[in-house]
């Protein structure tokens, strides 16, 4: 049951990425680039998703346990450290170069285009390298 639910939730997330246009690197790059081709779609995507999640967090704050199973498995990290900053700078460089973050990178694997397969392989390589540090 849980497996099926997880597939459904992943499906909804993936559909959201595709419908919003965020799986198209050009839309992300045009958001990130100042000029007359500026495409503000990404802001709308983030704003709507965040708004829904703000309401969700309000609800979560009043609950002790999730509705189906488990506990609230949340990060209790508080400290802003150099790992966070350096990691975010590196991610920003890669995202600004390519216009792809991990979610769209994953979805675009189904296009079977060489460039996206190469990108995702490099993402896994980067994750492996970072864990060695």
């Amino acid at each position: 049951m849980k497996a099926i639910m997880m597939v459904v939730i992943g499906f909804i997330f993936g559909l959201g990425l595709i419908i919003s246009g965020m799986t198209n690197p050009a839309k992300v790059i045009n958001f990130l680039t100042y000029g007359n081709q500026w495409d503000a779609s990404l802001i709308i995507v983030m704003a709507v998703a965040m708004l829904i999640m703000m309401l969700t967090w309000l609800w979560v704050a009043k609950k002790e346990k999730p509705l189906i199973s488990g506990t609230f498995n949340l990060s209790d990290l508080k400290k802003v450290d150099s790992r966070l900053i350096i990691g975010s700078v590196l991610f920003g460089l890669g995202w600004g170069l390519s216009g792809i973050c991990p979610g769209p990178g994953l979805v675009q694997l189904v296009s079977l285009k060489m460039e996206f397969l190469l990108f995702f392989a490099a993402v896994l390589g980067g994750m492996w390298l970072a864990k060695k540090v």
């Binding site: 990425l17 081709q37 350096i86 190469l118």
Partner: protein
């Protein structure tokens, strides 16, 4: 490549992303952070609960379904030389691992929770991405 501002589909897509994050959190208490999910499936050999694997399966199925029924929605290409694709991918993989999150975990789930770390992370990677895209664009 010129793209159009598409507020309606952006809002619908954003709502679906928010709903997926909500379901994962409300039903199972988990955060929809894609970089962490990818890491736990491909870069770790833990034998615990494999919900991440099923989540990724669903994500890929969405791609397959759209490719079959509405292929024009899944357009997009990476107009970079292969070596730069590799560099960008390495940076994304290493960066999200060090920072413990990306656009979904820090951006959507963390900022809405008013997590200081997520705000710092998101503002940092947004700013760096803006500078990078404008320098090479």
């Amino acid at each position: 490549m010129v793209t159009e501002f598409t507020p309606v589909s952006a809002a619908i897509g954003g709502a679906l992303i928010g709903i997926a994050c909500t379901l994962l959190l409300v039903l199972y208490g988990k955060i929809a952070g894609i970089s962490g999910i990818v890491k736990s499936v491909f870069a770790k050999a833990n034998s615990g609960s494999r919900w991440q694997l099923y989540f990724i399966l669903g994500l890929l199925l969405a791609g397959v379904a759209v490719r079959v029924f509405a292929p024009s929605l899944l357009e997009g290409e990476l107009q970079l030389p292969p070596w730069l694709i590799v560099v960008a991918g390495l940076l994304v993989g290493a960066g999200t691992t060090l920072a413990n999150g990306c656009t979904s975990g820090h951006g959507v789930c963390g900022m809405s929770r008013f997590s200081t770390r997520s705000w710092v992370a998101t503002c940092t990677f947004m700013l760096v991405a803006f500078i990078t895209a404008n320098l090479i664009g």
